[in-house]
Structure formats: structure tokens, C-alpha cells
Symmetry: C2
Subunit: 417 residues, 2 copies
């Protein structure tokens, strides 16, 4: 039996923030409704591995219902939240042509982020995102199709379009995607084309800033640049992307690049509601308790919440921040119900890391210890493996990684639209 | 270097017939072009396991290029054959908005079969097929979505529509799909819904004939019926399906069934070309040498070829027939090049088998030894595992099966359109 608690909590979003909030409320004396437009939680740090044929979508997707199958006070519902009335404390959900209304006493907005195109229609139309599992599968199909078309094409200009792959954004996502793409193209796909037509596939990583990995110390930025260049990726720094079309784009310095694949990893924005106080990047201003300014009982966590640390800097849009904020919002709801004082958010920062390719990575452990190369790569593998949800996913991902490492293969190669 | 042999063979279709033909021609003194509209070979016997969340699509899809990566005389090309001129010995292919012409000296048509709707528009619009990987993923998404919608619905009639799943066709595909669906619904999905709303999901298997598994001996037909009923599937025999719409259908005896899911496994037809002699089911009449009647140098194999055995019965549309015909067509091409006499097709029949569910199956080994239950199920598992292409696929499928068996789980549950 589901517990019918006196207090009803609705959590919107089953990403890292919402999931950790729901887990923190498990078996407490509240009734929880967790709503997401998808029926699964996505382990987003490995999306680029789905996009580059290394992992199957199901290996990084976990059914939300399964997580809470044995938790009596948490219900899950798949649907789109189409309307929220924060004052009346009710919201409306839609799915399969139906709508329904739900009331709440407490609300956690964990709606995450969405690509920021800075209002540019060319980006929206022609760039590939890598924010959802559907994005990753779409990109994978496109990459594989480009290679198949290269077998059709004799014209060198057209061949260049199909075999030049561009990633925009020098953060961890951009770096990881560019590295994995280069390995897929040059270690796997090229080997399967006839020798008499040697294909030369290029991967270009474009970053507007004069360096990669903005928040990292200089030694790690330099190491990341050296490692990805050593792999064979062409890095363009201090240069933005102008006017993308279906077969290429111009760099801000005027150079023209012929490329049918442009992956946009250069910026995201929050998913705030117009009724709430928002920042320039559509994030919701929250108090240190994670309550939304001006709305009692409504919390925002993770990528869509804007909160500054003691140094006046916004907490980064990173998974550990979302997880810790989800837990704090849940606990603050319980504190409020008990009449206790709410606690302020304090980020336990264990550092940052990014992988670049086979045995290549950088890590800044506890923002103190820099690691590069093989040791950073092992740390990255270990951390991501233990963070995956579900024993089967851990096991299958581990086997896939070992397989890919030993055979230089990528197995998920069906073009399946 | 790809060998430029004097003779050019084109194979259309990378299913079991085309694949085995190409393998038989590997490293021979002919130039082979293998064309398929997909970039992978599908292990069709396990499609129903993809449709019921047990396996990932990539586990039963193998890149065609990879199979022939080290075979110098076999080239692969992804594209749609849009025109064949059997007299002029040339054909036209299309992909990505481009077309190109290819000439051949010898042609193997291994284009397989397609669902037979018997001209009924209602079937085409509302029934789910299970012939391709895309079909399987579409059906899986639909099944999972029906369950999610069941969490939304209070109206009992609507609930019945969402939770009644119908499979039409009592052959191996229908039987296997019905059994796997029943296990998915009742052992996995139902457990994840709140106790206070117990869901009752039904699976109905409809077969027009008075028995299941037409070509099997009576004892095995009876065993299959007993095993699937024991599992909980409702079997309707001697009754066809009339007029399907989006929320249900009528049986021929007038009974109305509310069901948003109707899987069509009741018939397929060949994919013959209008220029060639065709049977009523659109199959191509071939001589015992597999040459197409009236066209020198053109062969048809597998589901799309019509050939009768000594007893005057058409060879069944089964994988071993396609494989053996593919090999014979390839060898007959080599014989013709050498000026040798062509050989006639002789089917080496190792029997038939169908699985029904956990520890449930029937097998008729060499059409002599009947097996039922656990022993038949083990034989089925073993045969399918060794038949899968690629060591990684065998390994991951084995682990998935062991996992599913021990945990009563089905892991591939993301609704991913």
C-alpha cells in the first residue's frame, strides 16, 4: 500500500536532482509524486558513448518505476507538465492526449537544462545536441550514415563534407565527444572501407575561449589540449562558429569548414518558469535553502536553479551539485513539516574530471590533486562505473568497455531511426 | 586491394540468404557487391526479444561491413535498389538523394519477405509487424507506453484497451511473441505498479487454423498449446481477425476485443519483381538450380524464391532454407563460370523448434525426435546462441539471458522514439 501522508510532495524531473530528492524522501511520512516526460533516468555523462557507438542506449537508461518499485510512498508518472500554478499549488500534466491536475503542498523543480542557441535559428536547425538519449541516438545514426554515404561519393568536396565532424564547445562534453568520435572514425569505421579508397576523416573541436576546460587549472588545460591533439583531433581555440548550414559553417575569423556534422556542446540554459524570478540564462533564483524567492514551499535544484557560493560565483551545472541539492531540498521539506529550521546548501566538491580517449583524461581531485593520462583515465572509468544505476548496467558497461578496449571495436552500429 | 575479377556478382539483400551467398563467394575469383538498404544484418529469430525488452537492438544486429572487412573481393553498399533491368543486366540504387547504376554478370535476389496484409488497409494501418529491427523497437515503445498510460487511466474500458495485447498468428513467431509478452507484462511491469491498483494484463493469441504450429506433428502442437495456456496466454483457435481499428477488433465469430496492441504474425509474402514469373504470394519461380525461370544468370534465394520439393510442397520460408539456397546460388555461379554443370537444391532439414517462455518450448529434431518443455527450451537457447554472429553478441546475449532468467527482469525499457 502506498502511504497516504498528510503532505504531498511533487517532484518534476527524474534527472539527478529529482531522483536524489525522491530517494531522500523514500519511506518518509510524505506522499511523493515523481513526474518525468520520459519513463527512465538518463546517466547523461555517458551520452557521448551512445552517440559514438560504444554503448547501447539501455545501458545508460534506467526505468524510473523500477527504482521506486518497492518504495511505498513514491509514485511515478510519465507525462509533460504543461502548466504550474505556484500560488494555488497545483499543476497540470499531459500524456497520450489526456490531461490531469495534481495538487501539492511542496514542489521540487528539477527540470534541468536545455541547449542554449543564443537565439540563433541556424544552430537550432542544423546542429546536433547531446543532452538526451534521443539526441545521442540521432547523432549516432547521422555519423554512421555519413560514413555509408562516403562509400557512395567520389567528388572530393562532397567527401570532405561527409567525413569532417565538428564539435563546438571545449568543456568536458565537447572534449569527450571529439575524442570518442576520433576513435570511432579512425580506429573502427575506416578499417571497414576498401583499401583502394582510403578515407580521411577529420574531427575538429572549436572553442571560443583561448583554452579548453575553462574551470580547470592551467596545467590540466594544457595537458588536455596536448592529449587531444596527440590523438589527432584538430583544435581551434579563440574562435566561434558563425552561420551553420546543412553542409558546413564559417568560423568567426572567416575560414569556411565543410562539415555535415556539427555537435553543439557550447552552452545550456535553465528551464525556469516565467512566473518565477529568472536569471539571464533562464535559471530560477533560489535562496540558500533552495526555496524559490517569493514562493513558500517551492524549491528548485540542479541545472535550473541559480545559487551563488560564498565567493559570489554561481554553482556549476554539474551532477554532484544537482544530487546534493536534490537531497537538501527533500530534507528541507521534511524539516519544514516538522517545524524545524531549514538548512543552507553547502557543496561538497570532490573535483572535476574529463576523459579524452583511450588512456587519456584529466582530473582535478578535490580541486587539489591534478591527474593526467592513464591515472586520470582509470579514475574516470571507476567513478562512472560505480555511479551507474543498477547492477546489470554496471556489469554490461564494464564488459563493453573491456571489449572495446581490447578489440578497438565499437559494437552498436545499426542505423536505426 | 579489392580483387577486380572478370565476373561481377551483385547480391541484393544482406539477410540470411544474401549473407551466406556472399560468404560462399569470399576470396573466389569474382567481384562481389552486396547491397542492402540497412547497414546491418538482422538476426530475425530474436526480434520478439527486442520487442519485449529482453535484448538490445544492437545485440541482434551486426554491421555488414564488419563481416566483410577483411574479404578483399566483397564490397558492401547501403542503398535502396530502385530499378532492376534483368535483360540488360544492370540495376539502379538510391541513397541520400543520390542514385547510381551498377552492372552485373550474375545477380542473386535475396530480398526476403514482407508482411502479407491480404490487401487489408485496416491491418496496414493498425497492426504492428515484427519483421525488422525498427518494427521491434516500435512495438516495444508501444507496449511500454501502454503500461505507462495504464497508470493514468481510471476508466475500466480504457484500461482494458491499454492492457490487452493481441498476437495474430499461431506459428513460431506468434507463439514466441505471445509468451514473451505475457512474461514481460506479468512478471516485470505489473510488479512496478502500486499495489492499490492491481493491473490485469491479458495476452490473446489468435489463430485461424484449429491448431497452433501448423507444420508440427500433433503431439507437439498439443504440447505447445498446453504450455502457452499454462503460462496464462488466452488462445483463440479456428477464428480470424476482422476489421482492426486503433482500439480493438472483432473476431470472425463476432466477439469484440478491446485491445490497442495487435501484432500481426499471420503471414508474409515474397518481394518478387514484376518482370519475373511470380507465385500468388509474390515469390519468384526458380528452377531447382535456383536460377530464375527465363533469366540466365539471375538467381533467387530464401523467402522470396518459390521452389517445390520432391513431394510437390514449396520449401518453407525458414532461415536454414535461405542459408542453404544462398550457398548453392553462389556455388552455381562459380560452377557456371568454370563451365561446370549447375547443381540442384537439396534441403538438409535439421528440424524445427519454437520457444514459448521460461523453460517452455517444443522442438522436432531432424523431424524425428520430439522434445517439449525444459529440454526443448535448452536446445532452443543453445542453437540460437551459436547461430548469432559475433563473439561479443553471443557473450552479451548469454549474460542478458542468464540475468533475465535469474532476476525475472527485462532491462531494455526506455521508451525511445
Amino acid at each position: 500500500m502506498k502511504i497516504k501522508g498528510h503532505h504531498r510532495v511533487i517532484i518534476i524531473g527524474a534527472g539527478f536532482g529529482g531522483l536524489f530528492a525522491a530517494k531522500a524522501l523514500a519511506n518518509e511520512a510524505v506522499e511523493v509524486l515523481l513526474i518525468d516526460r520520459l519513463n527512465y533516468h538518463t546517466f547523461t555523462p555517458l551520452l557521448y558513448q551512445v552517440a559514438t557507438s560504444a554503448l547501447d542506449p539501455s545501458q545508460i537508461a534506467y526505468p524510473v518505476r523500477k527504482i521506486f518499485a518497492r518504495i511505498p510512498n513514491v509514485q511515478c508518472l510519465m507525462g509533460d507538465v504543461i502548466n504550474i500554478d505556484p500560488s494555488a499549488k497545483k499543476l497540470e500534466i499531459a500524456a497520450g492526449g489526456m490531461t490531469r491536475q495534481e495538487n501539492f503542498d511542496h514542489l521540487i523543480l528539477a527540470t534541468g537544462s536545455t541547449p542554449d542557441y543564443f537565439g540563433r535559428e541556424d544552430l537550432r536547425r542544423h546542429a546536433f545536441d547531446l543532452r538526451t538519449l534521443a539526441d545521442a541516438v540521432r547523432l549516432r545514426n547521422h555519423i554512421l550514415r555519413c560514413f555509408e554515404m562516403a562509400a557512395w561519393v567520389k567528388d572530393p568536396d562532397l567527401l570532405e563534407e561527409y567525413l569532417t565532424f565538428t564539435v563546438v564547445g571545449g568543456g568536458p562534453t565537447g572534449l569527450e565527444t571529439a575524442g570518442a568520435l576520433h576513435e570511432l572514425l579512425n580506429e573502427v569505421l575506416k578499417r571497414e572501407f576498401p583499401d583502394e579508397e582510403p578515407l580521411s576523416a577529420r574531427v575538429i573541436l572549436v572553442e571560443k575561449a583561448p583554452h579548453l576546460l575553462h574551470p580547470y587549472p592551467e596545467s590540466l588545460r594544457d595537458s588536455a589540449l596536448a592529449q587531444i591533439q596527440e590523438l589527432g583531433v584538430e583544435v581551434v581555440l579563440g574562435n566561434g562558429v558563425d552561420e551553420i548550414h546543412s553542409t558546413g559553417f564559417h568560423l568567426e575569423d572567416g575560414r569556411e569548414i565543410h562539415s555535415r556534422t556539427v555537435v553543439w556542446a557550447a552552452g545550456v540554459r535553465g528551464t525556469g518558469l516565467p512566473e518565477l524570478a529568472l536569471t539571464a540564462r533562464n535559471k530560477i533564483d533560489v535562496k540558500p535553502t533552495l526555496e524559490v524567492e517569493g514562493f513558500n514551499g517551492i524549491y528548485a535544484v540542479g541545472d535550473t536553479a541559480s545559487l551563488k557560493n560564498a565567493q559570489g560565483q554561481e554553482y556549476p551545472m554539474m551532477i554532484p551539485v544537482a544530487q546534493q541539492q536534490g537531497v537538501l531540498a527533500a530534507n528541507n521539506i521534511l524539516r519544514k513539516i516538522k517545524g524545524e529550521e531549514l538548512e543552507d546548501f553547502r557543496y561538497h566538491d570532490r573535483g572535476i574530471m574529463a576523459t579524452i580517449g583511450r588512456k587519456r583524461a584529466v582530473a582535478w581531485v578535490y580541486n587539489q590533486v591534478p591527474l593526467t593520462g592513464f591515472s586520470a583515465w582509470l579514475a574516470w572509468l571507476g567513478l562512472h562505473l560505480v555511479s551507474l544505476i543498477g547492477f546489470r548496467n554496471k556489469l554490461i558497461v564494464l564488459i563493453s568497455w573491456i571489449w572495446n578496449y581490447l578489440t578497438y571495436d565499437r559494437s552498436v552500429r545499426a542505423i536505426l531511426d
